[in-house]
C-alpha cells in the first residue's frame, strides 16, 4: 500500500484536478471562473502526459555536457514534446475565450452565466 501510493501519486493528483476542473466549469456563475476551470482541466491533462514519461533511473535526453553514466539510459523526449504542443494550444484557447468574455461584458453588462442567455429555444 505504501509503495503503490507513492508511485501512483501523480495520477491521483491528475484525477483530483480533473474533478475540480469539471466542477468549476459546471457549477460556478462567473464567466471568468468558468474559463479558469477550462485551464485547470488543461493543466490536469498535461500533467497526465508528463507523468506517463517517468522512467526510474533515467536521465534527461540532452547530450550537451551530460554526466558520463547517462549515455545508455536516456528517456525518450516524446512526452515532453506532446505536452509543449498542448500548452501552446491552451494559451491560444485561453486568449480567445478571454477576448470573447470582454466583448460579452461590453454588450450584456454582466458576466453572470445565468443571465447571458439571449439565444434560447
Amino acid at each position: 500500500m505504501n509503495g503503490s501510493l507513492f508511485v501512483n501519486f501523480p495520477f491521483i493528483v491528475v484525477a483530483l484536478l480533473l474533478a475540480l476542473g469539471f466542477y468549476t466549469i459546471g457549477f460556478k456563475r462567473n464567466l471568468i471562473k468558468v474559463v479558469i476551470g477550462v485551464e485547470i482541466l488543461e493543466g490536469a491533462v498535461n500533467m497526465f502526459i508528463v507523468a506517463l514519461g517517468y522512467v526510474k533511473g533515467g536521465y534527461a535526453p540532452i547530450y550537451t555536457q551530460a554526466p558520463q553514466e547517462a549515455v545508455g539510459k536516456m528517456v525518450l523526449p516524446t512526452p515532453q514534446a506532446l505536452t509543449l504542443t498542448s500548452i501552446v494550444i491552451g494559451v491560444a484557447v485561453t486568449a480567445l475565450m478571454l477576448a470573447f468574455a470582454v466583448n460579452i461584458y461590453r454588450h450584456y453588462g454582466t458576466l453572470d452565466v445565468t443571465r447571458v442567455r439571449r439565444l434560447r429555444g
Binding site: 547530450y63 550537451t64 555536457q65 558520463q68 547517462a70 549515455v71 509543449l84 494559451v91 470582454v102
Partner: protein, 155 residues
C-alpha cells in the same frame, strides 16, 4: 497604473529579459528551450515594457513596430524551410545538417560540450517560431491593454 518601483526595475531588468529570451531561442538544439519557450520569455520582457509605461507612450512606442508583419514573416519562414526539403527528400527534412551552410556543421556523436554551429534546419525553425510567438503574444496583450479605459496614472 505605474509606480516608481516598477519604472526603475524595468529600466534595469527589461534588457536582461530580452537577452535571455534570445539566448533560449538560439541554443534550442543544445539545451532545453527552443522556439516557443524563448519567444514567450522575450514577449514577457516586452509586456513588462507595456505595463511600466503610461498609455500614450505605449501607443506611440508600439505603433511603429510592425508586429503583424513580423508574425507573417515568422510563419512564412517556417513554411519556406519546410519546402526546402522538397528538393530531393520529403517536406521538413533536415537538409542543412552536416553540409557547409550557416548552422550546418557536423554533429559530434556522444557527450560533447555543445557547439552552436550544428543543428541544421532546427535552428532556423527555432528562430522563425520564436519571432512569430513573440509578435503574437505581444499583440494579444497590447490589444487588451489598449481597450482599457484611461485610468488615473500615478506618474
Amino acid at each position: 497604473m505605474t509606480t516608481t518601483i516598477i519604472k526603475t526595475t524595468t529600466r534595469l531588468l527589461a534588457p536582461l529579459i530580452l537577452v535571455f529570451g534570445s539566448y533560449i531561442i538560439l541554443h534550442g538544439h543544445l539545451t532545453p528551450g527552443g522556439g516557443f519557450q524563448g519567444g514567450a520569455v522575450f514577449a514577457s520582457g516586452l509586456i513588462l515594457l507595456i505595463v511600466a509605461n503610461v498609455r500614450d507612450k505605449v501607443q506611440e512606442l508600439f505603433e511603429k513596430t510592425p508586429l503583424t508583419q513580423l508574425e507573417s514573416l515568422g510563419a512564412l519562414g517556417f513554411l519556406g524551410i519546410g519546402l526546402l526539403g522538397l528538393m530531393s527528400y520529403t517536406f521538413l527534412k533536415n537538409a542543412i545538417a552536416n553540409s557547409g551552410f550557416l548552422f550546418g556543421g557536423t554533429t559530434p556523436q556522444g557527450i560533447n560540450p555543445g557547439y552552436l554551429n550544428t543543428g541544421g534546419t532546427l535552428s532556423y525553425l527555432n528562430i522563425f517560431v520564436g519571432t512569430k510567438v513573440l509578435a503574437g503574444l505581444t499583440s494579444i496583450i497590447l490589444i487588451f491593454f489598449l481597450i482599457l479605459r484611461r485610468e488615473r496614472d500615478e506618474w
